[in-house]
Every structure is written in C-alpha cells, then in structure tokens.
C-alpha cells in the first residue's frame, strides 16, 4: 500500500502542456456518440495576421442530433466551432488522472470502489484555455430554440382524468388489521405469572444480548404482567433515570457479565 497515494509526476516533470477547452453540452453529447477510434472532427490552427485562429469542425456524421421525442432530427448541430483562446490567468492548473486498476468500464471507478489502489498521475499543466463556440448559423439557432423549449416545459403539469379516482379509502367498520390484532390479543390472553426462576432465566438471557432494556420490551419478551416483572427487576436490576439510556432497566453490576466488565455473580 505504499504505492497508494503516490503521485506519478512524469507529466509534471515533462511539463506537458495541455489545453483546457470548454465545450457546449450538445457538442459533448455528440462526441459521446463517436464511433470507431473516436474521431470527432478536425481542429484547424491557423495564424491569421499574427493571431492564432483555432477552429474545430465537427464531422458530418456527428451532426445529427437525436431529439428526445424520437422524431427525425429537425435540427442539426452546427459544424463550425471557432475557439476563443484565453490565457490561464492567475491560476496554475494541473491535470491529474485517477486510474483504477481492476476495472475496465469506460467510466472508470472512483477510489472507493476500485478493486485495487488507484493510481494517481499528474498528466500535465494547462497552458491554454479555450472556449468552443458554435459559429452562429441557422442551424445553431434552431437547435437553441429547441433546447429552450424543452427546458421551459414544466416538469409537473396538470392532467385531466377520465374517471374519478376510486383507489382512495372507503369507510370501513373496522380495519382488517385491527381485527387481526384483537384476535391475536384474545388468543394470547392475559399474561400469567410464571415461575420466578423461569422469569429470571429469561431475563438473564435477554440481558446477555443487550445491556439496556425498556420495560415494555421486557414485558414483550417475558410475557409477564408488568407489576410482577417490575418486582423481579427491582431485585436484580436498576432503573436508569438519567443519562443516555434513560428509562431503561439494566442488570445490577454484580449480575453483569459483559466482556469489559468483571463478573462477580
């Protein structure tokens, strides 16, 4: 595990320069659809009267946009995208990658889920920032309009129903659940006092599992009437009034036998 966390600094040492490009959402969606080796387009870098001009041209095949409604694409993505170059500015931007060994899906995996330790590598430093802008064209305008229309649709809307809703609650004399409950109670009958020793055994085994018990839970477990149970409990246990475990019963110290305590009884 000593390798874990060790950053591979080859990129930094070589001072590999990279570009940080901001790309519109639709374009990145189109890029995700690229086939084959992933070629998406061409980047043209030219020098026009001393200024560098960079422009990206999207491949023809990727200009079709599948609209969400499934209809034939009405709009096509624009092809020309000039880049606006910017300086990195005050920040020092470095690029680091996280690789997870043992996973092969495209998404990679976060360090938490990787089967092996992640490799962190410094790929390089950003030397140029750019923004990919679509060239203003009819295509683009149409695309934008479509996007706006879609996003302006409310997520919740009112819908008229054909018939009245009948799945709501109808008045009932007594709920099924209640009937069952009462039946169960009747069967159980009143709780009878069992032998004291038996009750004690039950209690001790219960207290072995947990240290603190509510009186109700104990009644449930032992099926004894409350008063009787309380008497027995007063013998062997104490009642916590304050503290974190308030209103709970626990065994007296001498009866306890927990691992971090010493037993005396």
């Amino acid at each position: 595990m000593s390798d874990r966390g060790e950053v591979d600094l080859t990129g930094a040492k070589q001072n590999t320069g990279v570009w940080l490009v901001k790309v519109p959402k639709y374009l990145s969606q189109q890029w995700a659809k690229a086939t084959g080796r992933g070629e998406v387009g061409k980047l043209r870098i030219g020098k026009n009267q001393g200024k560098a001009e960079v422009s990206f041209t999207l491949n023809e095949e990727l200009t079709t946009i599948d609209s969400s409604s499934g209809k034939a694409p009405v709009v096509r993505a624009p092809r020309e995208h000039p880049f606006t170059m910017q300086t990195v500015g005050g920040q020092t931007l470095a690029v680091f990658t996280e690789t997870s060994s043992g996973q092969s899906d495209a998404e990679g995996s976060s360090s938490g889920t990787g089967t092996g330790p992640d490799k962190i590598a410094l790929e390089g430093v950003v030397v140029q920032r750019a923004e990919c802008r679509p060239a203003a064209s009819e295509n683009y305008m149409r695309l934008k309009r479509l996007q706006i229309e879609e996003s302006s649709k409310p997520h919740r809307f009112s819908q008229q129903l054909d018939k009245a809703v009948t799945t709501n609650y109808k008045p009932v004399a007594n709920h099924a659940y209640n009937l069952d409950y009462e039946k169960k109670k009747k069967e159980e009958g009143k709780r009878a006092r069992a032998d004291k020793q038996q009750v004690l055994d039950m209690l001790f085994s219960a207290f072995e599992k947990h240290q603190y018990y509510n009186i109700k839970d104990l009644v449930d477990i032992t099926k004894q009437p409350v008063i009787y149970l309380k008497e027995i409990l007063r013998d062997i246990g104490i009642y916590n009034v304050k503290g974190t475990h308030k209103n709970t019963w626990e065994l007296k110290p001498e009866y306890r036998h927990y691992q971090n305590e010493e037993k005396s009884d």
């Binding site: 940080l20 690229a34 992933g38 920040q91 931007l93 219960a206 599992k209």
Partner: protein
C-alpha cells in the same frame, strides 16, 4: 482549408479524437497564483482522499449488542429519524477533499476541495497532442481547488478571542506566538526535566517573558528589546519566586504599578479613588483581592499573557502584590489565600508595616505601588496570618487607593466572593484580624469601587484607637466615608456589616441613624437615590 482569400493565414489541421473506454478519469487541480506552485519542482508527491468526514455519517458510537447496547435501539432511532424527517446525506468518497503532500514530510501540504457545478452546463475537455499530431480530448471529471495548508502554529478560537481583547494593549504582536511556543516548551520540559539548566533557563525566560511582556508590551516595539528585558525580568521573577525579598517585591510592585499605570491610565485619574486608601488603615488582612490576586496574577504572569482589560485591571488592583507571590500564589488561588507561604506573608507584612505606617500615607498614588502592593501581598495572605499583625494589617489594606473604576462590577463581584471567603476564613481563624476592612472593601458595591477600608476603632463604637481589625461603627468612620464620597444609607450600612462590627442589624441601624443625626450631612439626589455627603 477553405479560408477564403486570406493568403496570409496558414494553418494546419489536426484530427481530434475523443477516446472511449478509458479507465482514466481526468481532473483539474487548480492552484491559486499567489501560492506560487510550480509542479515541475516537485520531486515527490502523495495524494489521498481526506476521509475525516466519514464519521459524521457513520454514527456508530453505540455498540450494537452486548454491553452498552439497548434493545431495539436501531429501530427506535430509525423511527425517530423518520418522524422528524431527518435525512442524513450519504458519504460519497468522490466528493471528499484531497490531501496532497509534496516533497515529503518537510514539504508543502495542500487540501483540494471539489468545486461544484463544473459539469452541469458545459463540459470541459483536456486537449492533449499525441505523438501522431492528432489531438485527444478527454472530458474533465472533476475540478479541485487546492489550497496550501499552514504548517505554522495558529491560535485556537479561544486564544484568538483573548488576543483580540488585548489588541489595543499589545504592541509587539510578534511575540505572541513566540510566547506560546515557549510556554509549550516549558510544559513539555517540566515533565521531562531533562536539561535542567536548559529548562530552568527556559522557565526563567518564560516567566520573564510572561511577566515582562505584560509590562513591556507597551514599551518595547521590538522583540529584541523585549528579549533583553525578558532575561532581566526573568531573573527578577526567579528571584521573587525564590526569595520574595522586599526588594524583589518592591520591584514587582513597581512593575505592577508601572504596568498598571501604563495600562490603565484612565483608572488612576479618578479622584474618587484617591482617598480610598484613607480608610484602609484598619483594613484587615483579608483583602478579597487576595483571592483574586492569586488567580489573576497567575494568569498574568504565566500563561495567559492575553487578558482582557477587565481581567487585567482586576488583577492589577487586587493583586498588585500578587506579582510577588505569583509563582507561589499560582497554585493557591482560591484556597486559603496563600496559606502556603506564611513566611512571605510575614515578610510582606513586616514590610508593609514599615512602609505603610498609617493608612493615610498610602493614599498617595505614588506610594500606592509600593505600599499597595505590599499591602496587597499581605492582604492576600490568609487573614489568620494577618491576625497577628493586627493594626498593621489593617492599615495596610487601606493603602490601596484608586482601585480602577473601570471594572467595578467585575471586581466587586469577585471581590465579594473573595470577601465572603475571606470572611469565612477569618471566622475560622478566630482572630480578630483586620478582615473587616478588606472584606468590607471587597463587598463594596461597584459604585463605591474602592473598598473603603475603615479605620477600626475598638468594638462598641466610640472613637477608640484602632484595634486589630474590627470595623467599628463610629462617627469618625462615617464621617470619613461621607467626606470621601456621597453615599446612601444603604451603602453605609453595607460598610458596617454586622459581622464586622459585632452589632446586630437593628443596632447598626440605630447607631448609624444617631451618627447621621449628629453629623447632619448634606443631601444630594443621585440617580434617584438620596446620598449623604460631607464637605470638610
């Protein structure tokens, strides 16, 4: 290249690829320009997620079974959460900050916090040029802003608050942290006791620093000078703690006075306090200040160089002599008011006797430093001790003029507490020590500030010669009070507490009424209360 007619433009075309199925996730590590981070200078780096937030979501303090567990706890907790609609956020490893350590242990450390909203509306891609000239674009998965982490020591919130309170007083800000460091060193060394000398020196230095810083703060701008004075002060401190000679105590007193003077010039200005010392003549040893003093002095001296003005003034007034006893007094404080150093007390008392003589003399602010401190030192000592001194003690206590009028409330509260304690001690001691003056003083209301010590005539009223420490309800005493400042009947009554005078409250009231009739003081309405005063 279909550039139209612009022959000057040349260009090259590159193919852009967006590789799929890459297991690498690209992230941005952003540093601020001001941090001057140059990645190429890094020789070695380690980075891992900061998992310190995990326990917030874990919440597994209670054991599930066995000891300490409750039956059905989990279900109850869950039901409770549902009832109140508490939704705890998941702990996502992806969103946790990074901890980056560069160049090993001695290098820099950075913390990288994830920046949100990067991938919401636009995607960032990293364009790298490959060997074949084509560009490869990788989407950026996350953006982390890395900030350097301070390796130097910083103040905690409480300490910062303290320092803030002192900001007007402290000129030499550089020494604040230095002091802290020395203090810590000292704590560490105390246990080890390794290089005794070194430790001793440091202690000295520390003590000196602690003590002197207080004094010199406003005088020395440079650390250097403070250092020098530190060493000398340190020696002083040491001497004091060891011998508690009059000289040292005097020096301390002087220092205290100096500090007091410098720090609380305003306080001294009030005329009110000028005559406070008058009555202290018969004030017994117990000055509530004593109790305060040990406390205050200790923090003063040693660790808490930062102190609010209130505290400072309190400690100053009450425990000028505290400084003398600081080293020892440190531990004692609330206890029997410095029982531990009876010897010194005695010494001080002696000194006080000599120096103070009559309480009146101590009025003088000039003498205040010396005598007051002396007195206070003595006062600090348990009343029983003072008991023997009797009048000397009483006179001593009185010499504390001009208790700063600033924190009357604070002081009086503490004074009262101390006073009551002193009273008890006195009771126990069963000496007719001059507790009363001091106690009375302490019990004085804020408005009255200075515990107006009373000359202590013999019990049973009447103007008898000041005996040991019982405050007597005499015309003289009342007159003195009223001359000094206007007082209400309530105030006067307070001064002549039944415990002190030995009279019952009824008797006190009667006697006081008689005296007032005799004196026939003038009346003035202050704050809707009738105050009496005499002008002579």
């Amino acid at each position: 290249m279909t550039s139209l007619g612009n022959s000057s433009s040349t260009g090259t075309e590159y193919i852009v690829r967006v590789p799929k199925n890459t297991s690498k996730r690209y992230n941005i590590m952003a540093f601020n320009a001001g941090d001057k981070v140059n990645c190429s200078t890094w020789t070695q780096a380690r980075m891992e997620r900061d998992m310190s937030n995990r326990r917030m979501y874990g919440e597994e303090e209670t054991p599930e079974a066995g000891a300490g567990s409750e039956f059905g706890k989990k279900q109850r907790e869950e039901a409770r959460r549902k009832k109140y609609g508490i939704i705890t956020k998941e702990f996502k490893v992806e969103d946790q900050p990074w901890l980056l350590k560069v160049n090993g242990k001695a290098g820099r450390r950075f913390k990288g916090l994830k920046k949100g909203g990067v991938t919401e509306n636009a995607s960032y891609y990293i364009f790298t040029q490959c060997a074949d000239g084509a560009f490869e674009a990788f989407p950026v998965h996350g953006w982390y802003n890395f900030t350097p982490q301070a390796k130097h020591r910083t103040l905690t919130a409480e300490e910062a608050e303290e320092e803030w309170g002192r900001r007007n007083k402290v000129v030499n800000h550089f020494s604040i942290m230095l002091q802290r460091r020395l203090r810590e060193q000292e704590h560490g060394e105390e246990e080890e006791e390794v290089a005794g000398e070194k430790g001793g020196k440091k202690k000295k230095k520390k003590g000196g620093k602690g003590g002197d810083l207080r004094i010199h703060d406003l005088e020395d701008d440079l650390e250097m000078s403070s250092d020098e004075s530190d060493s000398s002060g340190g020696e002083d401190g040491e001497g004091k703690s060891k011998s508690k000679k009059d000289i040292s105590s005097k020096a301390k007193a002087k220092k205290k006075k100096k500090r007091k003077g410098s720090d609380q010039e305003g306080l001294e200005d009030s005329d009110d306090g000028d005559f406070e010392g008058l009555e202290v003549d018969y004030m017994s040893d117990e000055s509530s200040s004593e109790e305060e003093e040990p406390e205050k002095a200790k923090p003063n001296k040693g660790d808490d160089v930062p102190k609010g003005i209130d505290e400072a003034s309190e400690s100053e007034e009450e425990s000028e002599e505290e400084n003398k006893n600081e080293e020892e007094g440190k531990e004692e404080e609330e206890e029997e008011e410095g029982k531990k150093t009876p010897v010194q007390t005695e010494k001080k008392k002696k000194k006080e006797k000599e120096s103070s003589g009559e309480s009146d003399s101590s009025e003088d602010s000039d003498i205040e430093g010396e005598t007051a401190s002396a007195l206070f030192m003595a006062k600090k000592r348990t009343p029983p001790k003072r008991g023997g001194r009797g009048s000397a003690g009483s006179s001593r206590t009185g010499s504390r003029p001009g208790t700063p009028s600033i924190d009357n409330a604070a002081t009086s509260n503490t004074l009262r507490a101390a006073a009551s304690k002193l009273e008890q001690g006195k009771r126990q001691a069963a000496t007719s020590s001059s507790d009363t003056p001091a106690a009375k003083r302490l019990k004085m209301e804020p408005s009255s500030q200075s515990p107006s010590g009373k000359s202590t005539p013999q019990p049973a009223s009447g103007k008898s010669t000041p005996s040991s420490s019982d405050v007597q309800l005499t015309e003289d005493a009342v007159r003195r009070y009223l001359i000094r400042k206007p007082m209400t009947t309530k105030d006067l009554l307070k001064k002549f507490q039944t415990k002190r005078t030995g009279l019952s409250s009824e008797q006190t009231v009667n006697v006081l009424a008689q005296i007032l009739k005799k004196l026939n003081p003038e009346r003035k309405n202050i704050n809707d209360k009738m105050h009496f005063y005499l002008t002579e």
